[in-house]
């Protein structure tokens, strides 16, 4: 039981919060939970794929390959791969965090992971929609700046998180 509490503190907190809310304001709690179920089913295919892809990576992919492509010595090329991957991806970045952890365990560089998460804010597929709402000039400039930011973010995180590991 205490092991459960240690591994899932956030989840237990959320469950308690939801229970309190159900008694206090059941309409909104039901709305919130049905929203969560909705989001989960929408992203189910991604969540399943990520889980099994990480399973395969942690069992199969040799660390040398990961290190070579997105490891610390991969240099700017690795960062660019991370940035492009992030810009193309969809859904919330945190769905991919467990996959990133497996990649880090296999030798991926923190710099590349931070760049990928940064470039997540570039939403290539959403540009038409965002442009329709906010104007293309705004959206294109915005995405360009985010792409530049993602490279900076990678270097800042790499600087602070990797210096002492080697």
């Amino acid at each position: 039981m205490s092991k459960l509490a240690k591994s899932y503190p956030m989840e237990i907190f959320v469950t308690c919060l939801a229970l309190i809310l159900i008694f206090a304001n059941s309409d909104r709690a039901v709305l919130g939970i049905s929203h969560a179920v909705n989001m989960y089913t929408n992203l189910f295919i991604v969540i399943v794929s990520i889980a099994f892809l990480s399973g395969l990576i942690s069992e199969f992919l040799p660390p040398e390959v990961v290190k070579r492509i997105i490891g610390r010595e991969s240099g700017f090329k690795g960062t660019l791969i991370g940035a492009l991957f992030g810009a193309l991806m969809i859904g919330p970045a945190y769905v991919f965090y467990p996959l990133f952890k497996d990649l880090v365990d296999k030798g991926a560089s923190m710099r590349v992971i931070a760049t990928t998460i940064g470039a997540w804010a570039v939403r290539l597929h959403a540009i038409p929609l965002a442009g329709a709402f906010l104007g293309y000039k705004f959206v294109l400039l915005f995405n360009l700046l985010i792409f530049i930011y993602s490279l900076f973010s990678g270097f800042v995180v790499g600087f602070f998180c990797e210096r002492d590991e080697s």
Binding site: M10, L21, A36, S49, I50, G55
Partner: protein, 161 residues
């Protein structure tokens, strides 16, 4: 659109599994088992994030957030935009109408930029998940730099547009 890319990732994973199946049955089994374990663990974690988002969203309506943000402008607006954006979760697509509403009512471009940026980049709700998977140091550095960048980005956008 999102379904199509999700399907692509799914097919890619399936393809890898088929390849592995023909190379080594033992490896295939191990990967499948690990994947199933991952699925259960990730689902619990991700679903709890979704519950928080769902509850927050039922409290924070578009009109409420848009109306609140409209009162600010200049550097203060950019700061508030970045902070409120950090609280907002869920698909950023639902942020576009809010921002359209703010811009149409004379709100500042800088505020809208910092708000949208920190919405995607800073996740207070997903923070425990980030700490658990990628470490506290990573989460702290990445999120602090993201808040800082939201402000810089807001200033640049305001100056350019």
């Amino acid at each position: 659109m999102s379904l199509r890319l999700g399907g692509f990732i799914f097919l890619l994973t399936l393809g890898f599994y088929i390849l592995v199946f023909f190379r080594s049955k033992a490896l295939f089994k191990r990967a499948l088992l690990r994947g199933a374990k991952n699925l259960i663990r990730n689902s619990v974690r991700i679903f709890s994030v979704f519950v928080v988002i769902g509850i927050l969203q039922s409290f924070l309506s578009k009109e409420l957030v848009g109306g609140f943000l409209m009162h600010f402008s200049g550097i203060k607006g950019i700061l508030i935009g970045a902070l409120i954006g950090a609280l907002m979760m869920g698909p950023v697509i639902s942020g576009y109408p809010i921002c359209k509403y703010i811009l149409e009512n004379g709100g500042a471009v800088g505020l809208v930029s910092s708000f949208l940026f920190s919405w995607v980049m800073v996740g207070l709700v997903a923070l425990p998940l980030e700490i658990k998977t990628l470490g506290g140091r990573f989460a702290l550095v990445r999120n602090s730099f993201a808040i800082f960048s939201a402000i810089v980005l807001g200033l640049i956008m305001e100056a350019l547009l």
